[in-house]
C-alpha cells in the first residue's frame, strides 16, 4: 500500500506541475526545480535516517533516482541548473543510500555509479561535481559506518584522496568537520569485528583521526568537540583508560584555550566514572567554571549542568569507591562488547 501511495504522490506532483504549466496558472517550473521538488516530497515521505532499508519505498526511490540521472546525462555540460539539480542529486543519494539498499556493497556500487556520472560532467562550476562526490561519499559513510566500518574507512580514504584536493573551500571545510565523527562511528562499528581485526583497524583509524585533529584550519572548539565525541565512544566500549589518555594529551597541549563544554564533560565523566580519578574530575569542573566565567561556555548549557550535577552526586564518595565502581563499570562494558550479538 505504501509503495502505491508513494507512486501516486509522485504522479500527483508531476501531474500538478504539468497542469499548472498548461493552464498558465503560474510561470513554468524549471525541470530541475521540478525534480528537486519531487525528490524532496519523496524524502519527506520516506524520512531517511528514521530507520534503514525501507522496502516499501524502493520502487519510488529508484524511479526518482533514474529520472534525476537521466536529466543529468541529458544536460551534462550544457544547462545544468546548478542549485536545483545539485540539491536534487544530493537529496536522492541521501535517501537512496539510507533507505534503498540492504547491504554496504549495494550502496557502495550505487555511490560509485554516482561518482562515475559526476566525473563525466563538465558543469559551469567545475567544483560543483567534485563537491557532490564528497557529499555522496559522506552520505554513504554516514549510513554504513557502524555496519561495515572497514569498507567505509576505505571509502573515506579514497574520497579524501580523489576529491578533496579539487573541492571548494566550503565542501573541504564540511568534509573536515564530519570526517572525524565518521571515525567515531567506525570505531563504534569496530566492536563487531573479530578481536584480531578489530585491534589493527582501531589502531589505524585512531592514527588517522588524531592526524585530522591537528588540522588548525578547523577551530579548536570544533576539534575539541570531535575528540570529546571520540573519547566518549571509547569510554562507552569500556576503553576508559585510552579515552582518558587522549583527553589528557589534549588538556596538556591546549590548556585553558579549550572552550568546549563537550570536552570538559567528556573529561569529567571519564575521570569520575571511567578511571575513578576524583582529583581530575574536580580539576575539570574548576576549568569549566573558568570557561563559564569568561563567557566561553554558558552556564545554561545542558552539559555544564550535567557536569555540575554529577559533581555533587559524587563528592561524598571516597576516591577508592569511585575507582572500584569505575573498574566494575569498565569490566561490564568490556564483557558486553565481547559478547557475540551485541
Amino acid at each position: 500500500m505504501r509503495t502505491l501511495g508513494a507512486t501516486l504522490l509522485l504522479f500527483a506532483l508531476s501531474a500538478g506541475t504539468a497542469y499548472a504549466a498548461c493552464c498558465g496558472e503560474a510561470a513554468p517550473v524549471h525541470p530541475a526545480k521540478a525534480l528537486y521538488e519531487e525528490v524532496e516530497a519523496l524524502r519527506n515521505l520516506v524520512r531517511p535516517g528514521a530507520s534503514r532499508y525501507k522496502a516499501e519505498y524502493g520502487a519510488a526511490i529508484k524511479a526518482s533516482r533514474e529520472r534525476i540521472l537521466a536529466y543529468t546525462r541529458a544536460h551534462a555540460g550544457e544547462d545544468l541548473d546548478s542549485l536545483n539539480w545539485g540539491n536534487a542529486f544530493k537529496s536522492i543519494y541521501l535517501t537512496s543510500t539510507l533507505c534503498e539498499w540492504k547491504t554496504e556493497p549495494e550502496s557502495n556500487a550505487n555511490l560509485r555509479n554516482g561518482w562515475e556520472i559526476l566525473s563525466a560532467l563538465t558543469p559551469q562550476d567545475p567544483q560543483k561535481a567534485t563537491d557532490l562526490c564528497l557529499d555522496l561519499a559522506s552520505w554513504h559513510i554516514q549510513g554504513w559506518a557502524t555496519g561495515d566500518p572497514e569498507a567505509c574507512a576505505a571509502c573515506l580514504d579514497e574520497a579524501a584522496l580523489r576529491f578533496l584536493p579539487k573541492a571548494s573551500p566550503d565542501a573541504t571545510r564540511r568534509w573536515r568537520f564530519v570526517a572525524p565523527f565518521y571515525e567515531e562511528q567506525m570505531s563504534a562499528g569496530a566492536a563487531k569485528l573479530p578481536p584480531e581485526r578489530r585491534a589493527a583497524f582501531q589502531q589505524t583509524r585512531e592514527k588517522a583521526f588524531l592526524v585530522s585533529l591537528q588540522d588548525e584550519t578547523m577551530s579548536l572548539t570544533v576539534r575539541s568537540d570531535q575528540l570529546a565525541s571520540y573519547a566518549g565512544q571509547l569510554y562507552g566500549q569500556g576503553e576508559a583508560g585510552r579515552a582518558a589518555s587522549l583527553l589528557e594529551d589534549w588538556w596538556d597541549k591546549y590548556g585553558e584555550k579549550i572552550e568546549s563544554a563537550q570536552f570538559y564533560s567528556a573529561r569529567f565523566h571519564t575521570a569520575c566514572y571511567g578511571t575513578g580519578d576524583w582529583t581530575k574530575a574536580r580539576d575539570t569542573l574548576r576549568r569549566l567554571d573558568k570557561a563559564a566565567a569568561a563567557g566561553a561556555v554558558s552556564r545554561e548549557d545542558g552539559l555544564y549542568r550535567l557536569v555540575v550535577g554529577n559533581y555533587y552526586k559524587n563528592i561524598v564518595y571516597p576516591e577508592y569507591e569511585l575507582k572500584r565502581r569505575a573498574a566494575l563499570l569498565n569490566q561490564q562494558k568490556m564483557q558486553a562488547r565481547n559478547t557475540p550479538g551485541k
Binding site: V308, Y312, I315, V316, Q331
Partner: protein, 238 residues
C-alpha cells in the same frame, strides 16, 4: 587450543572459561610462577575448587615472600579495585604481618578498613572502625591517610552508625586540617549536606556559607543554589 584465552574473554562466566582459568593457575603454580597463578585463579572468581583455593593461598605466600612491600600493597589495592574483597583482605593482612612498622602502614590499615566496610556486616564494620581510629590517633593531623580514615569515619558515623552529629564534628576537623583541597572540600560540603538532610536549616545555611567562602566558584552551581533555597525556605517556616 580449544579453550584458549579468547574463549575465556568472550564468555568469562562460562564454566568452561572458569575451568580454563583454574587449569592455567594450576599450571603456573607447578611452574613456580606465583604472580601469574594468582592472576589466573582470581579470573576464576569465587568458583575455585578446594585444591585450587589452596594453590592460590600458596601462590600468594610465595608472591609475598618474593615481592617487596610496595608491590604487595599495590597488588592488594588492585584486588580491592576489582572488588575481590577476600583476596584484598588476605593481602593487606599479610602485608601488616610482614611489615608491622612499614612506612605505608597508615595506608594499609585505611584500605583494609575499606575492605571490611564494603563487606558491610556488623563485625566487619567494627573492624573497619577500629582500624581507622588507630590511623587517626597515631598519625599526624595533616597526613593524607589520616584524612582518608577521617572521611571514612564520617561515612560510617553518618550511615550505618546513625551518629550524624558526630560525623559533623569529624567533618569540621578534616576541613580545618585540609584547607583548599579536594578532601577539605568534601568535608565542608558533607557537613552542610548533613545539616540539610536532617533539616537543620539555620546550621545548614551557615555551613553552606562556610563552603562558599572557601569555594566561591560554587555559588554559580545549580545544586548549591537549590540547597540554599531549601535552607531559606525552611528558615521562613520556623
Amino acid at each position: 587450543m580449544l579453550y584458549g584465552k579468547s574463549s575465556s574473554l568472550k564468555f568469562p562466566d562460562h564454566p568452561v572459561a572458569i575451568r580454563t582459568w583454574i587449569a592455567r593457575g594450576d599450571a603456573f603454580s607447578k611452574q613456580g610462577r606465583p604472580a601469574e597463578a594468582v592472576k589466573a585463579y582470581e579470573k576464576a572468581g569465587a568458583k575455585l575448587t578446594p585444591a585450587a583455593t589452596q594453590n592460590l593461598e600458596t601462590a600468594r605466600k610465595l608472591l609475598l615472600a618474593a615481592s617487596g612491600p610496595d608491590a604487595l600493597l599495590d597488588s592488594a589495592g588492585e584486588s580491592l579495585t576489582a572488588s575481590n574483597l577476600v583476596g584484598a583482605i588476605n593481602l593487606y593482612l599479610a602485608w601488616l604481618q610482614k611489615y608491622p612498622t612499614g612506612t605505608r602502614i597508615a595506608e594499609a590499615k585505611t584500605k583494609l578498613g575499606w575492605c571490611y566496610s564494603l563487606q558491610n556486616t556488623p563485625a566487619s564494620l567494627k573492624s573497619a572502625e577500629d582500624l581507622w581510629q588507630v590511623v587517626i590517633q597515631k598519625g599526624p593531623a595533616n597526613d593524607a591517610w589520616v584524612g582518608e580514615s577521617q572521611l571514612s569515619m564520617i561515612r560510617l558515623l553518618a550511615g550505618p552508625k546513625g551518629k550524624w552529629e558526630e560525623a559533623v564534628k569529624v567533618s569540621e576537623v578534616v576541613a580545618k586540617n585540609f584547607p583548599k583541597s579536594a578532601r577539605g572540600e568534601q568535608a565542608l560540603f558533607t557537613r552542610a549536606w548533613l545539616y540539610w538532610a536532617h533539616e537543620k536549616w539555620k546550621l545548614s545555611r551557615s555551613a553552606f556559607d562556610d563552603y562558599l567562602r572557601a569555594y566561591p566558584e560554587a555559588i554559580e552551581h545549580p545544586p548549591i543554589k537549590d540547597y540554599i533555597r531549601d535552607c531559606d525556605e525552611g528558615l521562613k517556616k520556623l
